[in-house]
């Protein structure tokens, strides 16, 4: 990451990484049914980076995200997250159904003791950012799937966390809506300077969004490959560069999946 110094020169690598993972392992279950979900993961995520974790279903992506979120403890290894508790978004919006959209977005602000005036102001700001200002008084069940994910994004942003973790947040939406939300997420990320860790099993989505793609292998989950994405933003999902990279990621994933089954057989 480049940092602007007071003397006007830019220096690189001054800021500590937003997330630092060293030799991280996580075992699930007991006895016969034990699964080594993650095995010796090493990962360094820079501040302000948009990182995608790409892998087949069941490879341990959610496990890794839960560990970074502090929702689960590693079996072994080291994990450091700068700037406190990260915000998390899931495939299910997980909005509180008893609260309105505005109250949902206000929830993390309340937890951090923000004054009512400050809450109102910030909620209005965030709802405008995700284009939901007209739906502040609605309840989650009155929203469409895409609107719910936008509300969940606004709520996650209300945490003012430095790191935003997203576990396949758009996987349940149709392609059109997903495309739209990719545009919005990119815009918001560029505006806020957040560090985003985005889990997906969709190579196109990874190519569309990421600065860097980490490809995970399955059983045990390991870092299999890493791609840096040098495509200018804002991007389009159908841009030739994005499609080409998506193709390469797909090929690599297929190799890994074949390799996994060969290894197991």
């Amino acid at each position: 990451m480049s940092v602007l110094r007071s003397d006007g020169t830019q220096s690189v690598e001054l800021a500590p990484p937003a997330v630092l993972v060293r030799g991280l392992s996580r075992r699930h279950g007991r006895g016969e049914q034990q699964v080594l979900a993650l095995d010796g993961i090493d990962l360094e995520i820079a501040q302000g980076e948009f990182l995608c974790l790409l892998g087949a279903s069941g490879c341990g992506k959610s496990t890794l995200l839960h560990l970074i979120a502090g929702l689960d403890k590693p079996t072994s290894g080291e994990l450091r997250v700068e700037g406190g508790q990260p915000a998390v978004m899931f495939q299910d919006s997980a909005l509180f159904p008893w609260l309105t959209v505005a109250e949902n977005v206000a929830f993390p602000l309340e937890m951090r003791g923000a004054s009512p005036a400050r809450r109102r102001e910030r909620v209005a700001e965030l709802l405008e950012l995700v284009h939901l200002d007209a739906f502040a008084a609605h309840r989650p069940h009155q929203l469409s799937g895409g609107m719910r994910q936008r509300a969940a994004l606004a709520r996650a942003l209300a945490q003012d966390a430095r790191v935003l973790l997203m576990d396949e947040p758009f996987a349940a939406l149709d392609a059109m809506l997903r495309d739209l939300l990719h545009d919005e997420l990119e815009r918001i990320w560029q505006r806020t300077g957040l560090t985003v860790v985005f889990v997906t099993h969709n190579p196109r989505e990874a190519a569309r969004l990421a600065d860097r793609v980490i490809v995970l292998s399955s059983r045990p989950g390991r870092v299999a490959d890493e791609f840096t994405v040098d495509v200018a933003r804002p991007r389009r999902i159908d841009a030739p560069d994005v499609s080409r990279l998506a193709g390469r990621l797909t090929d690599r994933l297929k190799e890994i999946i074949r390799g996994d089954t060969d290894g197991a057989a």
């Binding site: 979120a69 502090g70 929702l71 508790q85 990260p86 915000a87 998390v88 899931f90 299910d92 997980a94 509180f96 159904p97 008893w98 929830f107 993390p108 937890m111 951090r112 309840r139 989650p140 069940h141 009155q142 709520r155 945490q159």
Partner: protein
């Protein structure tokens, strides 16, 4: 919208329907009419059966009067204000008993939901208490508190509190873990997490427990008022008791209808309505 406009009867009758979805007017009218017609029909059938039994001459009319004299008597008691004054005494007891039972049942439920140790210790006992007929507590209650208000309250609370506790525990068990996880990442911990996330998420189930608690407490209260009747407090149970003593069959049946009606009314108008509102606000039931 184009496909929805196919074969319109008239453009103004179709267009609002397409947007209103299930809120289509004629359908909701017929549904609410069906909601009233069926129970009324059931009552009419029950009254007819009752009248048939009376006409069959199975029992003399002074033992089992027909519905007409009983309903006439019921109207008399209503007009004279007797029902209101008796109901006031009985419902005050019910309200006090439910309040105490809610406090105890809720505290127990919270402890059981929060501590697996407390839960292991108490769940068998509470399940047992739930199945135990509350009338069987009366001898002990009378021994402890004599024939007084306390005896009645003791049994009412023992009848309702276990259901309320069990309802809360099972409602907390069914809270989606994802909501709890999200609450945690947003900084809610410990009691704040319980009060702001787990309890609201469990609220519909908790109200269902309250509703069941009410059914138990109403039964216990009637049993209590039949066993412990205080001369200066003409409650509904006392009316039933005196009607039997005086062989006043019409009065007896009229007061039984009062008991039945209050039970249904509180169940539907208070707890049923609360439950429905909660569920509707969360999109779990149709809003009215």
């Amino acid at each position: 919208m184009a496909t929805l406009m196919a074969q319109p009867k008239s453009s103004e009758s179709v267009a609002p329907r397409a947007f209103a979805g299930s809120r289509e007017p004629t359908q909701s009218v017929s549904r609410s009419r069906r909601g009233v017609v069926a129970p009324v029909l059931a009552v009419v059938v029950a009254l007819a059966l009752w009248q048939l039994i009376v006409w069959s001459g199975w029992k003399p009319e002074w033992v089992l009067p027909g519905p007409l004299p009983v309903l006439r008597r019921l109207v008399e008691e209503l007009v004279s204000g007797e029902v209101a004054s008796a109901a006031r005494i009985t419902l005050a007891r019910a309200a006090l008993g439910m309040t105490i039972a809610t406090l105890i049942g809720t505290s127990l439920g919270v402890c059981m939901a929060k501590s697996s140790w407390v839960r292991n210790a108490l769940s068998g006992l509470i399940a047992g208490l739930q199945t135990m007929p509350s009338v069987s507590w009366f001898p002990l209650a009378i021994l402890l508190f004599q024939l007084g208000e306390e005896s009645i309250q003791f049994v009412v609370v023992l009848g309702a509190a276990p259901s309320i506790a069990v309802g809360l525990v099972s409602a907390v068990d069914h809270v989606p873990p994802l909501l709890v996880r999200v609450g945690r990442t947003m900084g809610a911990r410990g009691f704040v997490l319980f009060r702001r996330v787990i309890f609201p998420a469990a609220l519909p189930g908790y109200v269902a427990g309250l509703k069941q608690g009410w059914a138990f407490s109403w039964r216990s209260l009637m049993a209590g008022e039949l066993m412990v009747f205080l001369a200066d407090r003409p409650s509904i149970g006392a009316r039933l008791h005196f009607a039997r003593e005086l062989s006043d069959a019409e009065g007896l049946l009229a007061w039984m209808i009062v008991v039945l009606s209050i039970g249904i009314l509180v169940d539907l108008a208070v707890f049923g309505r609360l439950e429905h509102t909660l569920r509707a606000r969360r999109g779990l039931a149709e809003e009215h």
